[in-house]
Structure formats: C-alpha cells, structure tokens
C-alpha cells in the first residue's frame, strides 16, 4: 500500500500538468486554480529532480547531520512553495481562493510533519509519529492533487447547473 502511495506520488507532476492544462482550457484566464496548479507543478518537478541526488548525498554523511539536512530541506521546499503561492497571487492581484487556502494549509501540515519527523528521529522515538511521517506525507501530497481535481469537476458541474460559473 505504501509503495502504491509513493508510486502515485512519483506521477503527481504529470497529474498537476494535466490539471493545469484543463484549468487553462476551461477558465481561459489567470485565476487562483491555475496559479495553484502551476505552482504545485513547478514545485513537484523541482523536488523530484533533487530527491535522488540529495538522498545519495545524505547517505554519505553522519546520521545526525543527515537527519538535520533531510528534514530541514524538505520543510524548506514546502515553505518556499507556500511563499511562492502567496507571492504569485499578490503579483498578479488575484484573490486567494478556496483552492489556494486548502493547498496552503496542506503545505503547513507537511512542514509540521517534517518537524515532527525530525523530533522523532533525534529525540522522541515514537511509533505514532513515525507512522504519521511515513503515511501522512504521501497522503497529504495525493490529497492536494485530488482536491484540485474535485474542485475543477465541481466547478464545471456547477457552471452547467446554474448556467455560468459564479461562485465566490
């Protein structure tokens, strides 16, 4: 099951690309949905690209330093994604919508879990936190993609239902 979640996680960048293209095709303007899909797509590409070389690097250094670097680096990546999301919204003056709010809270949860993972690896030996780290990270990653998909589908369904898209 865990391998399955990680496999889905590997293909998330393609999923975000498809969602982004669908969003551009459907909305035909720069809105919060398209910004979120674009930021997540860029973030996934960058994180997938650095993951394997970085894993090789931390395997060759002492465990204590490796723990610090590993957890801090991913928390930093999620934090940068969050800041990028806010910055793009502010630069293009688009309202921070429900998709962006959900994704930003998910990113906050990811940063928190990375912090807990670091605590678990260095001070607290807890089965619960370990399980939360192993299962929580891929689950939240996948839920972000699923939320975008459900949001797009529900937007299309609402637009068909009431004649036009007008949900604020």
């Amino acid at each position: 099951m865990l391998d399955f979640l990680f496999t889905i996680g590997d293909y998330l960048k393609y999923f975000y690309l498809l969602v982004l293209l669908a969003g551009i095709f459907y909305f035909r303007n720069l809105n919060t949905f398209n910004i979120v899909a674009l930021v997540l797509f860029i973030s996934e590409i960058v994180m997938n690209a650095i993951r394997d070389p970085f894993f090789g690097f931390v395997n060759n250094i002492p465990l204590e330093d490796a723990n610090i670097l590993w957890y801090l680096a991913w928390a930093g990546c999620h934090f940068l994604t969050l800041i990028l999301l806010f910055t793009v919204h502010e630069k293009v003056r688009v309202r921070f919508g429900k998709e962006a709010t959900f994704i930003s809270i998910s990113l906050l949860a990811l940063i928190t879990i990375q912090g807990l993972g670091f605590l678990e690896a260095t001070y607290i030996k807890s089965e619960f936190i370990s399980a939360l780290y192993v299962w929580g990270l891929p689950s939240i990653n996948i839920s972000m993609g699923l939320y975008l998909l459900i949001s797009l589908v529900s937007e299309i369904r609402n637009a068909k239902h009431i004649g036009h898209s007008n949900v604020y």
Binding site: I68, Y71, L72, A75, G76, F79, L82, I83, F86, R95, F96, T101, S104, I105, L107, L108, I111, T112, Q114, G115, F118, L119, T122, Y123, N158, I162, G163, H164, N166, V167, Y168
Partner: protein
C-alpha cells in the same frame, strides 16, 4: 545546540506559514465583501453601494442585511456566512 537551532527553525517555519495564511484569510474577507458590494452586486442586482464613511463592521452588517433582502427576491441560490466571510452563488 545545533538540534535546538533546527527545532527553532522548524517552529519559525510553521509560525510564519500559519501567520501568513491567517493574514491572507482576513485580507480575503475584506476584499471579497468590498468587491461584491462595488462590482458584482451592482452588475447583477442593482444594489446601491454602501456609504464609504461607515466602518468595516457596520459595512459588513449592512452588507449582510442587503444580502438577506436579495435572497428573499429569489435570485440568490445559496448564501452562507462564517466568521465574517461571505460565500454565495447567484442565479443569472
């Protein structure tokens, strides 16, 4: 010592992110109501703009009253308020 610094960094990251999200939510509420007052409602429903002299709480309360009246007219499909944030669906 280094570990304590790392933990402090984690707490900072979480704190800054949470504050940013909270700040954004407040901004969203004000912008949402004012945008709706000034543009969307006047386009769809001929709503008179709220007086600029009123403070934000009074403007929001007035806005809520206006929305209830509009809902009674049958053109609003759905309306909900939570912590000063309005979410609505308008039938064209």
């Amino acid at each position: 010592m280094l570990n304590i610094l790392v933990i402090a960094t984690f707490i900072s990251l979480v704190g800054v992110s949470a504050l940013r999200i909270r700040k954004r939510a407040v901004f969203q509420t004000i912008e949402l109501t004012e945008t709706l007052c000034r543009r969307k409602f006047s386009e769809y429903l001929d709503i008179v703009e709220l007086p600029d002299g009123l403070d934000k709480v009074k403007r929001l309360n007035q806005f809520k009253l206006d929305l209830q009246n509009i809902k009674a007219s049958g053109r609003l499909e759905d309306i909900s308020f939570k912590k000063g944030k309005a979410k609505l669906r308008i039938v064209s």
